[in-house]
Each structure stands twice: as C-alpha cells, then as structure tokens.
C-alpha cells in the first residue's frame, strides 16, 4: 500500500472487516465439524484482542500531539466510529436491552438520553472545543478561566467521574473474560486490564483511536447479526426494526392474561422476575422519572471528558461537527436495535403460540431446556414453583437482566458461533470505553496536573513517560477496585454521568456561550455543583429520604441547578474577565483562523 496510513483507511478497515467476517465463517465451519462452544468462545476473544493489540503496537508514538490528540488527522467518519465505540460501553452492549425488558417506560429515558445528548455535544461543545485546540477538557477550563485553581477543580471532577465509570467497564471485561475463558472473575479482571493497556499505552490517543474503530466494527456486527438472524429464524421479518409494533401490542395482551405485575413470593439476589409492564407510561410521576433520567444522561454526555476529547482529534472545526453527526448515526444503530431485542425476546418467552415460550409450560419441561440448564448452572437464571402447581408462572421465572442479550441466541436456537460473536462484541464495547476513560484520566493528570501545574519545564520525553506511568497506575487501581465488585455496572455508569454534569456542564457551556463568565464564577460552579450532587448521593445512599424521587441515577438534577446559580451569581458579583479573555471567546466562536492554543502549549 502506498502513502500514509490515514490515506488508506478505507482499504485497511475494509480488509479488516472482511477478515473478521471470514473468521466468523471459519468458526461456523468449526462448529459444524464438532468444535465445542467453549473453544469457539476462547478463539473469538483471543483473535479479536490479538488484533487490537497489534493495532496498538503499530500506532506507538513519541510525539506529544500524536499521543494526546492522534495528530489531529482523524477523518470525521472514522472519528465517528471511534466515538461510537468509546461511547457504547459494556453496559450499553450487555445491559441496555435487559434494562428495557425489565424496566418498561421509565427505563427508556436511557435510550432517549444517551442519543439526544449528542445534540448538545454538537450545538454547544464540540466545534468550539476543537477550535480552542486544547489537549484535554481541563485544558479548556484552565485557559478560558485562567489560573491553576480552575484547572485543578476540573481535573478532580474529571478523575472522579471517569474513574467511577472505568471500574464498571473493567468489571465488565472481567465478567466476559471469566465466562468465555472459564477463569475466575478476579483473574479475568487482570486479563481485561492487560488487553486495555496494550491498546493505549504505546500510542496514547493515536493507538486508542485506531483500535476503537476496529472495536466498533466488531461490536456493531456482534449486536446486529444475532438480532436479525433471530428475527429471520423466528419469523419476525427480514429487518425487524420497523415492524415490531404488533409484538408490542401482543405483549400488552399477554401481560393481562399472564398476570404480569403480580409480585413474586420469593427473592433471589441479583435476579429479577418480570413485574413491570412493557409499555405503560402512567403520566405524572412516571413522566417526571423519565424526564429527570433523560436530562441527566444528556447533560452528562455533553460533559464527559472521554467523549469530548474525541472531537479534539479531527483535522478541522467542520470535520469535528461532521464527526458528531457520524457518531450519533453509528450509536443510533445499536440504540434503536436494543428495544427490538428486548421486545422480541420477551414475546418469545411469553407467547404460548410460539415454540420458544416457557411461561405457562410445565416446570419439568422448562427445566429440561438446554439454555435454561446452562444459565441455571451459572446462577444467572432460576425457575421455581412458588405455588406448587407444576406450571411456570410469570412471577416464578427469575433471571439476571444481562441474560437478555447473552442468551437470546440460545433461546432462539441459533448456533453457538453467535454466542462467541456476542462475547467478542461485549468485550470490544467494554475495552474501547475503558481505554477512552483511562486515557482521559491519565492525560488530565499528566498534562494538566503534572506539566501545567507541577513542572511546566518538563521536556517531551518526560511528559510522555509520566503519561504512560500514570496510565498503568490508574489501570491497575481500576482493576483493584473492580475486583471488589462494589456496585452494579449500570449504577456506576449513571453515577459517572451525574458527577460529570453536576460539576462540568455549565462551566463548559458558559465558557463559550457567556463572555461575562469569569474564573471565580467557574470555580464556584464546579465546586458547589459537584459537592451538592455528591453530598446528595452520599445522603441517599445512607438511607436519606429522596427529594422528588431523585435517586442515585438522577442526582445531577440536584447538582446542575446549584452549579448554574452559583456560577452566574458569583460571576456577576466579581469583576468581568479581561479584554484579552473576551477576545479569546470571540475567536473560539469562529470556525476559521488559528486555534487558540498551539500544539506546543
């Protein structure tokens, strides 16, 4: 191949995609020849991780601009794919469909929130931050507001939000690795972190970018193929996305006859019985729950540094905007598929007219199904006969919500090779997000804390060395915390969004959109917003009464208004920013011209 790597992206990733599909076909043939499910799962994980590691090694660099922002030469389309992988975590991949299955209408706030947030990113943030030319998000705060205190506050919030998030991702890689490779969870976590660090340590943002593109391709194939295949096998249509309205209505009928909503009489830790109706918004309080969740997730999207920093890597302001558009399109592909998966899987289990149904069948028959046996064996599913009538009722069937994605191929009777593909996709989703988060933390600490605050005279070599050491250190710390299994995956993810929007949303937005915003205001906004949100979380975690139904998933609703009011009031009480700073804001708003910060900053 001729020319630079970036000139040949289409060719490289085209060959890669064909290679992956070829590998998939090969595994399917292996299965026909008698290879076991276990072997296929192992092959899928090892093959994909080996490729990511290879890309990470090929992207190694010693240039500061390449390490921090991939040399600012990532075309919009590819940055869109990388952002989509960065964005879609193990939680989106594994837990989202299950959440929709069990959570009903209020849970759909995640679906709307995690897509609509990109409108905010595109309108308020990405083009302006790209024009600024910063390396990290605290870099923007530090330069726009001036002074080390503001920079330091931004670093602290970034680290808290991203670290909360990254432990959940490392946890997810550990879960997937331990199940596919048959090793204990605690070992799986270290296996996961090793894979993650190989991708990011040598090449920084450059390595992470090109592995994330590869990971997006794997994860989207792994999400769409099983759903479409299942739909065809079970007769729900060629592309089920536009025609499952009947299934939604059929579920509503079945919910009445099967008595969905009857509380189970037994309880099993980590397992749920279906008690929430699939589509039954009640208005009022229900609408409030949806609104608050969606708002926190959207504002969080627009404040999470590992997402914002992806838009620093494009060649221009215009391509930064374009890549937000691509990002959302690629993310949309997964998010509009998750409800299809949740709905069709539910129908398959509930509808007595379908061969796959289990509810209403005899307990003995259900216990004999191969897929039920598999998941009961790993304690992720439970069938009990609470009322002793020998028939499985809806409130006698318990499962972990992750199963909806992981077991769908088995429920629908698809070959094992699909399960291997799903494992590889989940691993890609968790690894890519973990990589982005670890890099966001390590870069903020090395660039903003070490270089800008502690040792401004450090040379390039020393700065990059510091960045890499911090990366390993934080990765190991994340793995240690993950192996303690403190919170569920989804809970930790929602916390990260709420931390980010409580502390960073308004200081970032007003930095561009309100010239009068000054240092004192920004510091007040960050500190008070973040603290009020965090203290409220601690308060309700320790049994405090929730205000207006705001739980741990929604504490940004407390933090954000505090942050906004504090920032506006304190800004107006203190002198306006200097003429220099105000001119800088004017320049930030123009797409043309030089960036505010040059590459040697």
């Amino acid at each position: 191949m001729q020319g630079k790597f970036t000139d040949n992206l289409g060719k490289v990733y085209g060959i890669y995609t064909l290679g992956f599909l070829g590998f998939f076909a090969l595994m399917a043939i292996f299965e026909q020849l008698g290879a076991g499910a276990r072997l296929i799962g192992i092959m899928f994980l090892l093959f994909t991780i080996a490729i990511y590691a290879l890309i990470g090694w090929l992207s190694r660099t010693t240039q500061v601009e390449e390490y921090y922002v991939a040399g600012r030469e990532v075309p919009a389309l590819y940055n869109g794919m990388a952002t989509a992988a960065d964005w879609m975590s193990g939680a989106s991949f594994v837990a989202l469909a299950g959440g929709i299955y069990f959570g009903g209408y209020p849970y759909l706030g995640f679906v709307v929130g995690w897509t609509g947030g990109y409108v905010l990113v595109n309108s308020l943030m990405a083009p302006y931050l790209r024009k600024f030319g910063c390396y990290t998000v605290p870099d923007f705060i530090g330069t726009r507001y001036g002074g080390n205190t503001a920079r330091f506050c931004a670093v602290v919030i970034l680290v808290v939000a991203s670290f909360t998030y990254v432990t959940a991702q490392i946890n997810a890689t550990g879960t997937i690795a331990s199940r596919a490779l048959g090793i204990p969870f605690e070992v799986g976590v270290w296996f996961g972190i090793a894979g993650i660090l190989v991708c990011s340590m040598l090449g920084g943002m450059r390595g992470v970018t090109w592995t994330q593109v590869a990971q997006y391709i794997v994860l989207i194939i792994a999400y769409l193929v099983p759903v479409i295949w299942m739909s065809n096998v079970q007769g729900f249509g060629l592309i089920p996305h536009f025609g499952y309205g009947d299934a939604v209505q059929r579920i509503a009928e079945l919910e009445t006859t099967l008595g969905v909503g009857t509380a189970p009489t037994e309880k099993f830790a980590g397992l749920n019985a279906l008690t929430t109706l699939h589509n039954s918004p009640q208005g009022g309080y229900d609408s409030w729950r949806f609104f608050t969740l969606a708002l926190c997730m959207m504002a969080g999207t627009a404040s999470l540094p590992h997402i914002l920093m992806r838009y620093f890597t494009t060649p221009s302001v215009r391509s930064a905007r374009k890549s937000v558009a691509w990002s959302l399109l690629f993310i949309f592909l997964l998010y509009f598929t998750a409800p299809v998966l949740a709905t069709l899987t539910k129908l398959q289990l509930l509808d007595p007219q379908l061969a796959t149904s289990v509810i209403g069948k005899s307990i003995a028959d259900v216990n004999n199904l191969a897929w039920i046996k598999n998941w009961v064996a790993v304690d992720m599913l439970k069938v009990v006969d609470s009322n002793g009538d020998g028939i499985l009722q809806i409130n006698e069937f318990f499962m972990r919500s992750d199963i909806v994605v992981l077991a769908t191929p088995e429920i629908a009777g698809l070959p094992y090779v699909i399960s291997g593909l799903v494992a590889a996709g989940g691993m890609a989703a968790a690894m890519s997000t973990a990589d982005g988060l670890l890099l966001a933390i390590a870069n903020a600490l090395s660039h903003d804390l070490y270089y800008k605050i502690i040792d401004p005279k450090a040379d390039t070599k020393k700065r990059l060395m510091a960045a890499r050491i911090l990366l390993v250190f934080i990765g190991v710390a994340g793995a240690l915390v993950a192996s303690l299994k403190l919170t569920g995956i989804l809970g930790a993810v929602a916390w990260a969004f709420c931390f980010a929007c409580s502390g960073l949303f308004f200081p970032l937005v007003l930095g561009v959109w309100w010239k009068r915003a000054n240092r004192q205001g920004a510091i007040a906004g960050m500190v008070l917003g973040f603290l009020s949100g965090a203290l409220y979380l601690i308060y309700i975690q320790n049994g405090g009464t929730q205000i207006a139904g705001l739980d741990g998933l929604r504490f940004g609703i407390i933090g954000m208004p505090v942050s906004l009011i504090a920032m506006v009031v304190v800004s107006l009480m203190t002198p306006e920013p200097s003429k220099e700073i105000q001119d800088m804001v004017d320049q930030t708003r123009l797409p043309g011209g030089k960036t505010i910060l040059d590459s040697a900053h």
């Binding site: 709307v112 939604v248 609408s287 969606a294 221009s316």
Partner: protein, 86 residues
C-alpha cells in the same frame, strides 16, 4: 476592512446563535415533551406501534440524527456565506 470583518464576524455569531436556539427547541420537544406525554400519544397508532412508545424507542432518535445533519448543513452555509470558514 477590519470593520467589515468585525461586522461579518458579529453577523456570523448572531446567525449561529439563532440556528442553535432553533435546534435546541426541536431537541427539547422530542427529548422531553413528547416522551412526557407518552400516555396520551399511546392512544394513537403509527406503523402498528403505539405512538408514545414509538417515539421513545425510535422516532425521537431518528429526529436527533436528522437534526444534527441538518444543523451542520446549515452551519456550513452560514460559515461559507460570511467568509469565516477554515
């Protein structure tokens, strides 16, 4: 010349701001107002879906995607017209 520049820069920002406000209004409607009223909208049917449900799982998402593409197309026009593109 620099006066003219300053003027077109000012006009550019005004137009950008107006566009952004329009986009955020559309966003607000489909992100919050429509899902808030899902119960009432479910009385209507669209492609076999209850309408409220449809918006939460697909309709609003499609609108977000389209909204960003349209916004960028319009923003490019504004940038070109006022000579502030890169």
């Amino acid at each position: 010349m620099s006066d003219e520049n300053a003027q077109s820069e000012q006009r550019h920002w005004e137009k950008t701001r107006t566009l952004t406000i329009i986009v955020l209004v559309v966003w607000f409607i489909f992100a919050f107002i429509v899902p808030w009223n899902a119960k009432a909208l479910n009385e209507l049917s669209f492609m076999g879906f209850p309408l409220g449900y449809y918006f939460c799982v697909q309709g609003s998402l499609v609108i977000f995607v389209a909204l960003i593409w349209i916004q960028n197309w319009r923003q490019d026009q504004i940038d070109n017209e006022l000579g502030v593109k890169e």
